[in-house]
Symmetry: none
Subunit: 148 residues, 4 copies
């Protein structure tokens, strides 16, 4: 069974991330993409960086397209590292800054969240709030559908 | 005095558009941009066309960048029309399909809404729901700030 | 002898165009490029269309790159016309809307002016003000250099 | 209250930068963008580098989009640094060379200046001349509008 992230669920995830951002005193750009890497929802919090509009979406895309958190690439893409040069592929869509995290259900990447606007550590913390909410809603029984 | 559209207001506008879309039995992609054409919020309704992700955002951008509803361009850009060829400028960001409408406050374009996913007529109707909500909230006194 | 348009001259041309625009009650985007099509100066008048930032520059570029006023292309690029499809070449830089005019000295294209923001007729009228000033300054003896 | 940079003010800032450049014996490309990152005015001084046309504009854009001087990124984007890889996001618009500085009014980024053509240190010095002029004009009372 394939799990599709509904707009309603995506909004719940965005809201979880926004609450965490507010808690940390941050203004963030936050994106949710689906299993094809296509954008479902995006919110730019008041005063969040304009540059983050693109970066948040592409962090989410990267987490799906590379099937890993973008923070992995922050290391792997260093000169001498195994993924050096990966950020110029895919017309520059691959982002090697932390803040993108894949959403996994039944061992399959079903979407991704991407956050941009603060430091990578902070972006990751905000993205993790969305991830946590996603896992909570999908852990209520492995067959339960969070899209209610 | 310049009015800035907050994320909260943008979400209210998206919701108004989504309600109208549901009413009409449509699945739409909906975007809100600010006065500089930068994306504030985007929602893709369940089953809405993936192609509409780009189109909705660029309809919103076009409505701000050209200071007019994109439906104006649908006619003006016909061969022999005054704007023939305008959709290849700006790296293809100008969309000449109806569904993008500027949001105006105190005679100034302060943002735009863009809808894509159905016919242009339907997209326009959905975008108009957002416009109506925006005007209602900003007509409550010419100096009242809808960003509450 | 090659005539190079100085920044000072470019600004004089921009000011001539801006005065005409003000006279006509228009807000315009205005660009001056050199003989290589490279931008020398650009001004966006208050409230001028954001879309015109790109269009004005590329109208100026087109007038140099095609060695003709862009209004020529408005006709030639119609379906069935001799230049149909030209606006998708050069990565979309060729603009087929009137408002771009080459600046000619000693029978050679030495630069171009591009105006965008109103109707093509109005853009052309504003561009012509710059052209007129350019011609006045360069007609004071065929060897006289307007860059003083 | 939001402050909008008029063309007149942008030109004053460009002239301040140009005077500094002349003083230092430099030929510079100088751009002023608004709060949305959109170009208001651009001047290329005689003999300034053609490559600087794009770089100056994108330094200005970056300073607004990232809400910081681009010189911050020169360090942060080094391999191993917190922003490594940021210059391949946003379709290459983010410039990690010094010379872009945000213009701040009432604690808000209302625009940016970008300078390119010499060394980064020199570009920064020229950009600072524009910043200084901006601050002088806006420090005349926190509510005073420099757009006269």
């Amino acid at each position: 069974m394939n799990m599709l992230i509904s707009l309603r669920l995506a909004i719940v995830l965005l809201e979880a991330a926004e609450r965490k951002a507010l808690e940390l005193g941050l203004s963030e750009d936050i994106a949710i993409v689906d299993e094809g890497g296509n954008l479902i929802a995006f919110h730019r919090m008041d005063n969040a960086k304009i540059a983050g509009i693109d970066i948040a979406q592409n962090k989410a895309w990267t987490s799906v397209a590379m099937q890993m958190p973008t923070s992995n690439l922050a290391n792997a893409a260093l000169p001498g590292g195994p993924s050096f040069g990966i950020n110029t592929t895919n017309q520059g869509k691959i982002v090697i800054l932390g803040g993108g995290i894949p959403l996994i259900f039944n061992n399959k990447v079903v979407g991704g969240v991407g956050v941009s606007g603060a430091t990578s550590e902070q972006d990751i913390e905000v993205a993790n709030a969305a991830l946590l909410t996603f896992n909570k809603m999908t852990n209520a029984g492995s067959n339960s559908n969070p899209n209610k």
